[in-house]
């Protein structure tokens, strides 16, 4: 970028203008002072203009796509990431209450005073008329079970109150539901009344935001850390099995005569090109209890008919199916690295007295490590964010963090938590991607 202009380009610029002005060479040599281009402008300026034009033209070609990707991909993801800290629903729904809550000390153990209850009732009446109070209840329910029903039930009765005339409200509210007389309720509202919250991220790592600061979730609610661990563990298992299965195949393909290798390559590329759902359904057909593998095992008598192997809806099924699906992504980079290793190196090592194993381990293997690295990172990145295959063959034991994200988006509607989980996942992937860029370079990504 901004480097020296190549001679041809200067030549072109000059040759296009020299028709009008006669022979440029004599012009340039007869001048004293700054060198001039054919049209009389200083050459330096003219070159800079040519360079600028070139840059503009390149950018004009790139611009439509760049804008398209930025608007419809980068921006939505940024917005989604922001959802993981965004929390203005409390402030927007009950603004007066939030302002009053600032004067109340949650740790004193005393209930808030009448002013707050009055503010709350007037907030709620507005919110109930706009039908927004249930949304607030749902939001607070993520943090403290029971809030959703509290808001829904109390809503019907608070609606009948008139904020201007019916006070004082403290006793009335506590009569409607005794939870309003509970310090915890108000503490929860106060804790989550900030506009930018770290609550979702704390939830994502099995902690919660409490008046006393971040604390661990109760034992029975800690599932996400376990799920992250399982995702990492299974992705690692898949990567390792891909290395073990991919390395011999890549070695064979790189060392066979190219005609044979091309034919065998079809066996690698065909799964690569086959629809993901076809392969997933094929594994469902293979692995299930009445499936092909079990039938064959029963038929040849290795497994009793009533003791069929359970190979699906668990971690085993997910690992097998995903290893199969991601194996081409391991073989292809390994193959392209191994192709560049000269077979003469091995022979040279052996001629100097190395055993087969030493020649492989000390000469060939170190040269093939870049291929393993590239393939492993690629497979790991792909595995860690997989959704479809674990959803179909994973059951409950073999699902990944992505399945949890999908659950929170489409079923539990806790979008903030989904966004926080997504942010963490994206962070891990980008870190790995950065490593991949350092090792392989984005420009060297090849397909097919």
């Amino acid at each position: 970028m901004g480097g020296p202009v190549s001679p041809q380009k200067i030549g072109r610029h000059i040759s296009l203008t020299c028709e009008n002005n006669g022979d440029i060479m004599t012009d340039a040599t007869s001048q004293s002072g700054p060198m001039l281009a054919a049209d009389g402008t200083p050459l330096k300026k003219s070159l800079a203009r040519a360079l600028r034009m070139q840059k503009t033209r390149a950018l004009m070609l790139i611009a439509p796509l760049l804008v398209f990707v930025l608007v419809s991909f980068i921006f939505p993801i940024g917005k989604m990431l922001f959802k993981s800290v965004e929390n203005d629903i409390v402030v927007e729904t009950i603004p007066l209450t939030v302002a009053e809550l600032q004067n109340w000390d949650a740790e004193s153990g005393a209930l808030p005073d009448e002013a707050l209850y009055a503010a709350f009732v007037s907030d709620m009446v507005v919110a109930i008329n706009a039908k927004r109070h249930t949304r607030l209840g749902t939001r607070l329910n993520y943090e403290h079970t029971g809030m959703s029903s509290l808001f829904r039930k109390s809503g019907r009765k608070i609606k009948k109150l008139d904020p201007a005339t019916d006070g004082p409200f403290k006793e009335q509210l506590i009569a409607i539901d005794k939870k309003w007389g509970d310090v915890t309720t108000w503490a929860v509202i106060k804790t989550h009344s900030v506009k930018i919250t770290n609550g979702y991220f704390l939830n994502a790592i099995d902690m919660q935001r409490t008046p006393e600061g971040a604390q661990a979730q109760p034992e029975d609610k800690r599932i996400l850390i376990k799920l992250f661990q399982r995702t990492l563990f299974m992705s690692l298992m898949i990567t390792v099995s891909c290395i073990l299965l991919g390395y011999p195949v890549a070695w064979l393909l790189a060392n066979l005569p190219s005609r044979t290798a091309n034919i065998l390559m079809i066996l690698v590329l065909l799964p690569f090109w086959t629809s993901l759902l076809v392969r997933t359904s094929a594994w469902k057909v293979m692995l299930q209890q009445q499936g092909v593998i079990n039938e064959v095992l029963v038929w040849i008598g290795l497994v009793a008919d009533d003791a069929r192997l359970v190979m699906i809806n668990n971690q085993f099924g997910t690992i097998v199916a995903m290893t199969h699906i991601l194996l081409p992504f391991m073989i292809l980079p390994m193959y392209s690295v191994m192709q560049t290793i000269q077979p003469t190196y091995l022979r040279a090592a052996k001629s100097m007295g190395a055993t087969n194993w030493t020649a492989f381990w000390r000469v060939y293997f170190p040269l093939s490590v870049p291929g393993i690295g590239a393939g492993s990172i690629l497979v790991f990145i792909l595995a860690i964010g997989y959704y479809i295959t674990p959803e179909i063959v994973g059951g409950t034991k073999g699902v990944f963090i992505s399945n949890r994200i999908a659950y929170h988006i489409s079923s539990s509607l806790n979008w903030g938590l989904a966004a926080a989980l997504g942010t963490i996942l994206l962070g891990v992937v980008l870190l790995l991607y950065w490593c991949y860029d350092k090792i392989v370079g984005i420009d060297n990504v090849k397909l097919g």
Binding site: L59, K79, I266, W273, T274, V285, Y387, I392, G448
Partner: protein, 403 residues
């Protein structure tokens, strides 16, 4: 390596035990399925050894031995388990006879370097067997789906009729279901609408951008490249989540403010979302093609008075076309195969084929899925062949020798 190694006959002490082991191994499977594994191993080994001894000492005629063995094992198979077993028997007979001679005549040495030790020879062939097993692992699931899709019953496994190769066990009813069922037809049609349009968008924008990126002075090339490749890097579930929020806002705006048709807006949303996902593939393949493109050709065209547009369409485009088309095929298969994003962004009227398969696999599992899978495998074989042809053509055009 050419066949330079002189071969010689091997002693019986090597041939007989190895042949016995092979026979025993196959006998084990037949034995366990008929009640007794040990008997199977013994009978299998014995038959293989007797066969080998017969070929070597009695018949002394390879062709005759082959015919007899194949016929014998085929007949045995037919007697035990009908037509399918007969085919297994024929194959096994061919194998065991070939294997005996391969060992006895020392043919296994013919294609190897003369100085290899027996251990190295053994490793050489064990390695091939291991690789063969891995290739089997890669290809079996795809192959298994195909015959199962012709199942006459609604099972996901081979029925006894199918194993007996009884024509009554096979039918085209799942294909018939696919071509007559409204749900499947509508989703197939949706896929055929969405994927080509998304491909056209990503190919046209992507090719332009790749040409821009390949110019010599692009400020911030790495950053731009990273942004454009990001749809391939970001896990689909995250892209889908982001697009879910974004396109529901966009959809509301288009429907509410501009008053557009709901179905039409739905298609626009899915098409745009898929177009973004296809872009990295186009960028990567076209950039790779442009690396070998000779810039002096465009200069020559300009020199002879062509304007940039003419130069692009008459000089540059024909040369980079193979790369553009294979990028387009990648984009097409990305969209055609995509399910996570459409699941989040689309509504029921944009249900695509993969989406239908996904719900089919999760809920009412129907063997029609296998028929669809077979059709899709056919499509992917076609695409694979096209990409390979294009790659060779592109290398020829650029003056490289195709590998």
């Amino acid at each position: 390596m050419a066949a330079l190694t002189p071969i010689s006959r091997k002693p019986m002490s090597l041939v007989l035990p190895t042949v016995a082991a092979a026979g025993g191994f196959f006998g084990l499977f037949i034995g366990t399925s008929n009640g007794s594994g040990i008997m199977g191993v013994l009978i299998g080994a014995l038959m293989a050894v007797v066969g080998a001894v017969l070929y070597i000492f009695v018949l002394k005629n390879e062709k005759l031995g082959k015919g007899l063995t194949i016929a014998l094992y085929g007949a045995l198979g037919f007697w035990f388990g009908g037509l399918a077993a007969a085919i297994v028997g024929l194959l096994y007979g061919w194998f065991i006879q070939w294997f005996s001679y391969w060992l006895y005549e020392g043919r296994y040495r013919a294609r190897l370097l003369p100085y290899l030790t027996p251990g190295q020879v053994l490793w050489h062939y064990s390695f091939r067997v291991i690789c063969g097993a891995i290739f089997t692992f890669l290809i079996t699931p795809i192959l298994v789906v195909m015959p199962l899709s012709f199942n006459a019953q609604d099972f996901f496994t081979f029925t006894p009729e199918m194993l007996r190769l009884d024509p009554a066990g096979y039918s085209l009813k799942h294909y018939q279901d696919f071509f007559t069922n409204n749900e499947w037809q509508r989703s197939f049609k949706n896929s055929l609408i969405i994927a080509p349009i998304a491909t056209v968008i990503s190919v046209s924008l992507g090719t332009l951008a790749a040409i821009g990126l390949s110019q010599s002075h692009v400020p911030g090339r790495r950053a731009i490249m990273a942004i454009m490749i990001s749809p391939m890097i970001v896990p689909l579930i995250i892209s889908a989540t982001g697009m879910f929020f974004f396109y529901s806002d966009i959809g509301n705006w288009l429907e509410g403010t501009l008053g557009m048709n709901k179905t039409f807006v739905g298609y626009v949303k899915v098409v745009l979302a898929h177009a973004v996902l296809g872009i990295p593939f186009v960028i990567i393949t076209v950039t790779a093609t442009l690396v070998g493109f000779d810039r002096s050709l465009t200069r020559a065209a300009a020199n002879m008075g062509a304007n940039p547009v003419t130069t692009f369409f008459r000089v540059q485009m024909p040369l980079i076309l193979p790369g553009v088309i294979s990028g387009g095929l990648f984009a097409f298969i990305t969209s055609f195969d995509e399910v996570v994003v459409v699941l989040f962004v689309g509504s029921a009227s944009q249900k695509t084929l993969p989406w239908q398969m996904f719900t089919g696999l999760r809920e009412q599992i129907s063997p029609t899925i296998l028929a669809v899978a077979t059709i899709l495998v056919g499509i992917s074989i076609l695409l694979l062949a096209t990409v390979e042809l294009l790659r060779r053509r592109s290398e020829r055009l650029r003056g490289m020798s195709p590998s």
